[in-house]
Amino acid sequence: MKRILVSIKRVVDYNVRIRVKPDGSGVITDGVKMSINPFDEIALEEALRIKEKGLAEEVVAVSIGPADCQQQLRTALAMGADRAIHVQTDAIVEPLTAAQVLKVLADREQPMLAILGKQAIDDDCSQTGQMLAALWQRPQATFASKVEVIGDKAQVTREVDAGLETLEVDLPAVITTDLRLNEPRYVKLPDIMKAKKKPLDTVDPASLGVTPVEVVKAVHFEPPAARSKGIMVKDAQELVAALRSKGLV
């Protein structure tokens, strides 16, 4: 079956203003709104569009993390994923661990594409997709803004520093999504009801032969250095004068 694997990370919602705990032991996440990582939502949307074009038959959403991740997987199912796999663990999941888990699932599910967000908005690592591609020994097309599946290949346009780069990759391949790839659909109420009946398997990382290890130890968290209070000027003349006094124009 032509299948697409999509990874879904549960993260602090985009709109939450993050604060560091006073003792520097972490950031405050108690009681804050959690959501699907926005880039993963774009990844899922792209997978659904490829399926809706008749180029794939099944979309499988995967999330790795604590029991609460099932909320995000249910949302993914409501968006249109056919089934979900929850790799349940309370351990810290580093990108390399996530890639190892996804590699095992890729071997098992044999997808034509694995689509991931280009980064998670919590740790901002931007690693897992590339790591999966390396372990799976398959092509990667990161930061995608356009994806075209043509037979056993895909043409992917990537947002790079210089502009837009297009790659051709043999399938199966890993794609990571940039912001402008698509606009994810809204979930409708009947879909939420339907999603409750879709299959959601829970597995242990150990059953996949992966043991999460914490190699990168968090030592300390701090807020970013604050900028000193600025001045307000009343017009362009004052503005240019202020810039001139700083030697900037």
């Binding site: 993050i18 950031v27 580093e94 990108p95 390399l96 890639a99 280009k118 980064q119 908005i121 901002d124 690592c125 931007s126 690693q127 897992t128 997709g129 590339q130 790591m131 999966l132 390396a134 372990l135 020994q137 092509p139 990667q140 930061f143 803004s145 043409q155 990537r158 790079v160 520093d161 502009g163 837009l164 780069e165 297009t166 790659l167 051709e168 990759v169 391949a173 940039d178 912001l179 190699v215 990168v216 130890k217 030592v219 701090e222 807020p223 970013p224 000193s228 600025g230 001045i231 307000m232 017009d235 362009a236 003349q237 004052e238 503005l239 240019v240 810039l243 001139r244 900037l248 124009v249």
Partner: protein, 317 residues
């Protein structure tokens, strides 16, 4: 002793300044021996620029027509092979480095530290998380090889050294995969300074209203010798090209002067400009969050203010 291998970013003839910033980061590690590797079809010109960077002990070159385009899939296996014997492998946190380095890390079974803003020791690093709203210090066991991308906005390029480092051609045995092929690149034509290295940047938001209206910013930028950036909202709306986006998911920049016109200042944008020396904000909305980080703020209509600034600057020159 730390041995750091840095992968050079270049366009085939010129070394990208991001590489000299990676050297600056590596130089923070006491006693580090620093090597650079250049993958290219013809690496000679780039290698001699790399050899001139202060603190570089040697430059390796890998000449291969397949490296004419810097693709992660083709470079990674060879870079991973050359990484043997090095404690650290660094690349810039540009789209080149972000694409390549995790692939190398996975091949090495090594952890990656993304966006290093300070190397406190060979095993302890600082990096931003949550769009720069928190800074985390991380520690990696000393016996682990470390892959890292270096946040270019956090470093100044190193100076040049009097005696150039030796340049050595190497031929990695790792085969170059052919499953990934370069098709084309469309670079937005620009004679303006590159956003990531420009000393001055003029930037526009959704308030510009159209791609045509961005012309007033280009005109001002040309008077100032500035690069031009944009907020995500302006890029999404099609007013500006994607490579102009500044912020968490776009470019992180650190110019001397950042002029933000009609940008409200979402946290995702602010993370891209926090390292600018002087931030100037012009916005109609006095409550816009951009004013919280601005060194100089002006509440006003940008369509009126921009031409005025341009005129005043022309007068003074």
């Amino acid at each position: 002793m730390a041995k750091v291998l840095i992968v050079a970013e270049h366009d085939g003839s010129k070394l990208n300044p991001a590489t000299a910033k990676c050297v600056a980061c590596a130089s923070q590690i006491a006693g580090a021996e620093i090597s650079i590797v250049v993958f290219a079809a013809d690496p000679a010109a780039v290698a001699s620029q790399a050899a001139a960077l202060l603190g570089v002990a040697r430059v390796h070159t890998v000449a291969n027509a397949l490296h004419a385009q810097p693709l992660a899939a083709t470079i990674a296996p060879q870079l991973a092979e050359l990484a043997a014997g090095h404690s650290h492998v660094f690349g810039p946190s540009t789209t080149f480095g972000k694409d390549l380095m995790p692939r190398v890390a996975a091949l090495l079974g090594a952890p990656q530290i993304s966006d290093v803003m300070a190397a406190e020791s060979a095993t302890r690093f600082k990096r931003p998380i949550y769009a720069g709203n928190a800074i985390i210090t991380v520690e990696i066991p000393a016996d682990r090889q470390i892959v890292a991308t270096i946040r270019v906005a956090s470093y100044q390029p190193v100076a040049t050294q009097a005696t150039a480092a030796p340049i050595l051609a190497v031929t990695p045995a790792a085969p170059v995969p052919t499953h990934t092929r370069f098709v084309s690149v469309t670079a937005a034509r620009s004679d303006r300074p590159d956003l990531q290295t420009a000393a001055k940047v003029v930037s526009g938001g959704r308030a510009l209203g159209s791609a045509e209206n961005f012309q007033i910013l280009y005109s001002l930028a040309d008077k100032l010798g500035a690069g031009v950036g944009a907020s995500r909202a302006a890029v999404d709306a099609g007013y500006a090209a994607n490579d102009m986006q500044v912020g968490q998911t776009g470019k992180i920049i650190a110019p001397e002067l950042y002029l933000a016109f009609g940008i409200s200042g979402a946290i995702q944008h602010l993370t891209g400009i926090k390292d600018a020396r002087t931030i100037v904000a012009i916005n109609k909305d006095a409550e816009a969050p951009i004013f919280e980080v601005a060194d100089i703020g002006l509440v006003g209509d940008l369509f009126q203010v921009v031409p005025e600034i341009e005129k005043l600057i022309a007068q003074s020159n």
